[in-house]
Every structure is written in structure tokens, then in C-alpha cells.
């Protein structure tokens, strides 16, 4: 019986990323059903094992630390070797940018299917049954993985973080032999003001064409700042195509799919391609001058009116709430 679960952590600059706590929490849930243990695969730079030790709080029994280069094909080799060495019923990744880059390479090395963007999980007869959105969120597919381990990636902000504290043992694993892969990472160019990726933010402040001019974005930036460091900016396709905002912020078809607990659609009309990327958000607030804008059809709360004035008043009210 393959009862253990391997949770693949993301360690960046010596820090475990917040989404990895959700990955370990989901892995703990599967392992409890299978009556197995949770191992964490921490493949990253020097000290990645110590950085991941805190994941014991969310149910990790052991951290397998492989100190390797950050580049994705090398990490894939390391994670695949860890997966092969254990007796795993499931391997869990995060459906983040790095996770989407890594997971298919590991799956191919293990000759295994991969279920991505999973939003719900069951264990049935020892097999993993995952639910994932298809057709841009217009349907949900319940899919059974026939083999083991089942490889899956979970969508951020859906499973939540659970406490299941224990002392995680950290074990160093020797890195795989270095090989010339024909893949070399050169430089990195940071884009301004994108500390938190919109696909991982708990709160998204999204702006549309009704913002009228890129100069007006300081209003939304201020609202984002008022909402705290789990908030990020999003954008509609129209404003990205107009060159007002970077593509990294685009929500919807040809952009990102987001599932924050709070989505604020500011001056966004709500084209079907935009709804495809945000309709599964927890709570949706729409502010628009046009009372007939389709965005109000999916919003939980709406305000009709001048978006600039409402955004500024909202930022002030949130600050007052936070300070009280």
C-alpha cells in the first residue's frame, strides 16, 4: 500500500513560500485518509531544509532536503528521485508559476498523469479522486487517478492552511549528479510593484478600462496598500492590450485564473473572458458607473457610481477599520 504523501515545497531566497503551507495541509489530509506519513520535498538552495522545517506545524513528518541549483530541470530531477525513493500514494505540488513549470517534468520522469489546479480532493478505495475546473470554470470535472503515486497540483487559496503540529525531522539527501541539460538561466528583470503574484494573492484589486488612464492607477495602488500585504493588483484584458498595465496582472482568458477570498472589480465591465478568470473567487465586489454592467451579475456586492471616489473612500474606510 502506497500510503505516504510527498508535498513539494517552494523555497525561494531561503524562505518557504506561503502556498507551501497549503500544499502540506492538503497532503496531510490525503495521508490521514491513507494512514500514511507526509514527507516534504525541499529542493532548493543552501539551507532549504531548515527553512522548510516549520512545515511540521501543518502536518509534515519529515523534510527531505536536497540542495540543488534553482533551475527547473535540475529541481525536477531531484524531486523525481525523491518520489521514486519513497512509497507514495500521492505527490502534491502548488499550481503556481514555478509549480506549473516543475510538475509536468516530474510527472514525465515518473511516467505518470498529472492533475493540475485541483480544487477538491477525495480518497476512495485507496485512489485519489480530484475535482478540477474545466472549460474556463464553466464545469467541474471529478477525475480518478488510476495509478500510484497520483500527481496533482492544488490551486492556491482554495484548500486553506490547517494546523496539525509535529516535529518534522530534516534529512539531507544528496543531490543528483550534475548533467549538461542545454538549459541555462540568465538574467532576471523585475517588473515594478509586483511583489505578490495576482494568482496567489488573498485579495485582488482589479482595474478595467473605466479607470480611463494609466495615470489613475495610483488610486487602486493605494487601495491595495490599505488592504495589506496579501493584496495584489489585477487588470482586465482591455487595459493590458492598451499597454496600461503589464500582462502579469491580467486576469481571465489569456491571463491568469485567480481564486482570492476577496476580488474587487473596479471599473471592469465583466466580459465573459474576464469572468473565466475570477468567477471562483470567494467574495466578489464590483464598482462600476454602469448599473447594467455584466460584472454585477456575478458580484456579491455592488456599488454603482464614480469608481475613483468610491475607491478612495473605501481605502480610507479600510484604514480606519485596521487602525481601530
Amino acid at each position: 500500500m502506497m500510503a505516504d504523501v510527498l508535498a513539494v515545497a517552494e523555497v525561494r531566497d531561503g524562505v518557504v513560500r506561503s502556498v507551501s503551507r497549503e500544499v502540506v495541509s492538503a497532503a496531510r489530509g490525503i495521508a490521514d485518509s491513507l494512514r500514511g506519513a507526509v514527507d516534504v520535498a525541499a529542493a532548493g538552495g543552501t539551507g532549504c531544509g531548515a527553512a522548510a522545517a516549520g512545515l511540521g506545524r501543518h502536518g509534515a513528518d519529515r523534510v527531505l532536503a536536497v540542495e540543488v541549483a534553482a533551475q527547473v530541470d535540475v529541481r525536477a530531477t531531484a524531486v523525481a528521485e525523491l518520489a521514486r525513493a519513497g512509497s507514495y500514494g500521492a505527490v502534491v505540488f502548488a499550481a503556481t508559476g514555478p509549480g506549473r513549470d516543475l510538475a509536468p517534468r516530474v510527472a514525465a520522469r515518473l511516467a505518470s498523469p498529472l492533475l493540475t489546479d485541483v480544487v477538491a480532493l477525495d480518497v476512495d478505495g485507496g485512489q485519489i479522486v480530484a475535482t478540477r475546473p474545466v472549460f474556463a470554470g464553466k464545469a467541474l470535472a471529478r477525475v480518478r487517478a488510476l495509478g500510484a503515486p497520483a500527481l496533482l497540483s492544488i490551486r492556491p487559496n482554495v484548500f486553506g492552511v490547517a494546523d496539525s503540529p509535529r516535529e518534522a525531522r530534516v534529512e539531507a539527501v544528496s543531490p543528483p549528479a550534475e548533467a549538461e541539460t542545454g538549459y541555462r538561466v540568465g538574467g532576471f528583470e523585475a517588473s515594478a510593484g509586483a511583489a505578490l503574484d495576482v494568482a496567489e494573492a488573498a485579495i485582488v484589486v482589479s482595474g478595467g478600462r473605466g479607470m480611463k488612464d494609466p495615470e489613475n492607477w495610483h488610486i487602486l495602488e493605494d487601495l491595495r496598500d490599505a488592504l495589506g500585504d496579501t493584496a495584489a493588483l489585477g487588470a482586465s484584458r482591455a487595459v493590458v492590450d492598451a499597454g496600461w498595465r503589464p500582462h502579469a496582472e491580467q486576469v481571465g482568458q489569456t491571463g491568469k485564473t485567480v481564486t482570492p477570498k476577496l476580488y474587487l472589480a473596479m471599473a471592469i465591465s465583466g466580459a465573459i473572458q474576464h469572468l473565466a478568470g475570477m468567477r471562483t473567487s470567494g467574495v466578489i465586489v464590483a464598482v462600476n458607473r454602469d448599473p447594467d454592467a455584466p460584472i454585477f451579475g456575478v458580484a456579491d456586492y455592488g456599488i454603482v457610481g464614480d469608481v475613483f471616489a468610491v475607491a478612495q473612500a473605501l481605502a480610507a474606510a479600510v484604514r480606519e477599520l485596521r487602525n481601530s
Binding site: D73, T96, G97, P98, R100, D101, P104, R105, A107, A108, S112, P113, T116, D117, V134, F135, A136, G137, K138, A139, L140, A141, R142, V143, R144, T181, G182, Y183, R184, V185, G186, G187, E189, A190, S191, H247, Q250, Q253, T254, T257, L262, I272, R279, T280, G282, I284, V285, P291, D300, Y301, G302, I303, G305, D306, A309, V310, A313, L314, V318, L321
Partner: protein
Amino acid sequence: MNITVCVKRVPDTATRIRIADDGRGIMQDGVKYVLSPYDEFAVEAALQLVEAAGEGQVTLLSYGPPATAETLRSGLALGAHRAVLLTGEPDMDGWATAQVLASELAGSDDALVLFGIKAVDDDQQQVGPMVAELLGRPCATAVAAMDVEGGVATCRRAVEGGQEVVEMDLPAVATVTKGRYEPRYASLRGIMMAKRKPLVEKPAPEVESGLVVEALTYPPERPDGRIVGEGVDAVAELVRLLREEAKVL
């Protein structure tokens, strides 16, 4: 420089999706099918790279039902030179799809194999890197722009917080996202010429699927929303609702 672009025929995102009576697939009548939007970026990238090189051919490769031939013709109308259709019914198992595509690509010495970063039906973002692994070639994902010179592809990847530059030795694989490549429209002449371009159809090899789709369901309906009010006067009530009712502040 020759390039193969792997493409998929998918329901248009504006199409209404209705679940079939067996609860495992979708009803086909009234569904409009298109080339997956991200595949359009990949086709455009291939055409621009071949144009920049001054020589070479763009081949389209797809795994899908016979009707995929129409989708491939629309890609040929954009300027691709030839197309290959592996007829069959791909399911959600991207690993099975990757094996089918790799069986055809193993015999190709094209410098690049391009994919759209994802197909908008199953939305999995996995087949490209899996094919690369099967072919033993390097793979860059989420490529917003690329340039090829001296047997090396320099890619700008759209990653969290910015762009990462990656170099790959050719032959290589890349998945293309929105960025430099604005898909062109087919010209009337392109559409006429596409009818005479070679399109080879052959049955896809049998590959066993490792997944079973047990059920398709509609997502839970969102409860009816409400207009809290008009203008700044409604802000206090909105904040109260977000805090006390929705509990998100």
C-alpha cells in the same frame, strides 16, 4: 529553420457549455470550435521566427478528432506550410497526449517544437514540458518572446514579479504565452492557398489513459448579489458587509 507547432481544437470560450446526458462529456451540438487562443501565440511566434531566419517551414501537429482538420486549415491560412493530424480522442490525461505527440515528433529534426502555454478546455499546462522530457530536449515554459541565433534560443519567460531570460541549445521545446506575438489574421489569399497545402491524417497510436473522468458537474451557482448603494455613501455599508457578513476584512 523548421518549427513544429502543436495545436489543439477547443470549444470557443464564449460558447455555452452543456453537460451531456451521461454526465461525463459535453453536448456537441451548437458548440463552436476554434484553435486554442494560446496556440495562436505559438503559431505567430513560429511564423515570425521563420521569417526572421529567412528560410524554413512551419508544421502544425494536432491530436484530435477528424474535425480538427478544419482547425488545422485555419492555421495553414495564417501561413503555416503543412499539417499533420493524428486522429483520435484525447482525454484529460496529458501524459497520454504527450506520448502520442512525441511518437510523431521523435522522427522530426525540427529546431523548435512550440506549444501554446495551455489549452483553454482542460487548462492543464503540462503537455509541452512532458513532450520535451520524452524527446530529451530542453524546455522553456511561459515564453513571452524569443530569438534564435547560432543554434541557441534566447527566451524571455513571464514569471512572478518579472521576466526571466533563459537560453536553450537547439533543438528545444517552448510553450508560448501572451507577449511579443500578436496573432495575425488570415488573408483571403492565405485562406485560398491553405486549401492546397499538405495535410496528412493518420490514426494516433494507442496509448492507455491513466485517468478516468467520473463526472462533469456545473459549478455551484453564486448566490444572487445585491447592489449595496450608489457612490461613496454606500462605502460604509459595504465595509460593514465585508466584515460582518462575508467576514473577509
